[in-house]
């Protein structure tokens, strides 16, 4: 298991309420998919890739350039972060996992560098 995968696995086991962590490229193609207990939870790649587009368009609407979007649904919360060439998506219940994740934002960068190289080479 790579270092990054181990790190994200650690996060999903520690932070209660997290269902899924996805690391994808900007088109929504998965590089890492981490679930607790290796369940088959998944998300359509179009959902992930639309983050980049909606982030761009929302920026033009007047929000300005931003790094992450938090979407809150009835039973779910989705936190998507833009890390240069990668999108990191956290999906969880309606609890308070978002604060946990945002507090380790800078820590994520260190572990994502390893994966980043796989995408930049394309």
């Amino acid at each position: 298991m790579s270092d990054a995968k181990r790190y994200f696995k650690n996060i999903i086991n520690k932070v209660s309420g997290l269902y899924l962590i996805l690391v994808t490229d900007i088109d929504g193609v998965q590089l890492l998919r981490i679930t607790p207990d290796d369940k088959n939870t998944d998300v359509a790649s179009s959902f992930i890739s639309s983050f980049v587009l909606s982030s761009d368009q929302a920026g033009k609407l007047g929000l300005g350039k931003h790094k992450s979007i938090i979407s809150m649904y009835n039973n779910y919360q989705v936190l998507q972060m833009n890390k240069n060439n990668l999108i990191v998506t956290f999906i969880g219940n309606d609890g308070n996992f978002i604060g946990h994740i945002l507090s380790i934002d800078s820590e994520l960068d260190v572990h994502l560098n390893e994966i980043k190289n796989a995408v930049i080479e394309t």
Partner: protein
């Protein structure tokens, strides 16, 4: 009379200053419009350095094609800026990858990640959490505290148990050595 003359002077002075002011503004506006009117301004052509090179160059073709190319560049920049600034929600649907491409890329990425994992022997980070044997410490820590009544009960029970343990004594009744009755 003196008073009226003073007022007149004042009015005339302010009118004059107003005229000057208007002239200034007009002049500024005029200059401003001049700057703005040249949408496809050609700063490269106007720069003294380039003028010198143009005069140095005897090639007429080059000097004629240069403004055209700049115009084209400026037009491209305009088109690009417009495309960047336009909010086009309709284009969001069209940007989907084919399933085949997605699976190809997933394969490529997993291959690369495996390569990287095998190439780099990263030192294993030690787990530095204090409560590492509790998976969700915040749940345990955030639980409601025990009630005062229960606390008192536990304390009194422990106190009684302690007193009882202290009170344990050996009651000597008979000899410890037991004679075996060997038949």
């Amino acid at each position: 009379m003196e008073y009226i003359r003073n007022i007149l002077n004042c009015v005339v002075r302010s009118f004059c200053s107003c005229l000057n002011c208007n002239e200034d503004i007009g002049f500024q506006n005029h200059e401003h419009i001049n700057e703005r009117t040249h949408l496809l301004a050609d700063p490269v052509n106007n720069s003294p350095a380039l003028r010198r090179t143009n005069s140095d160059l005897s090639n007429n073709e080059y000097s004629q094609s240069l403004p055209k190319r700049d115009e084209q560049n400026a037009l491209n920049v305009l088109v690009h800026n417009t495309a960047v600034n336009m909010i086009d929600v309709g284009a969001m649907d069209s940007h989907h990858l084919e399933n085949q491409e997605i699976s190809d890329r997933i394969k490529l990425y997993t291959q690369r990640l495996q390569q990287q994992a095998s190439n780099t022997t990263t030192p294993h980070h030690q787990n530095q959490t204090i409560l590492k044997d509790i998976p969700n410490p915040e749940q345990q820590l955030a639980a409601a505290p025990i009630s005062a009544q229960d606390m008192a009960l536990i304390k009194s029970a422990i106190g009684k148990a302690q007193a009882a343990i202290d009170d344990i004594k050996v009651d000597h009744k008979e000899d410890i050595v037991v004679p075996f009755r060997i038949p």
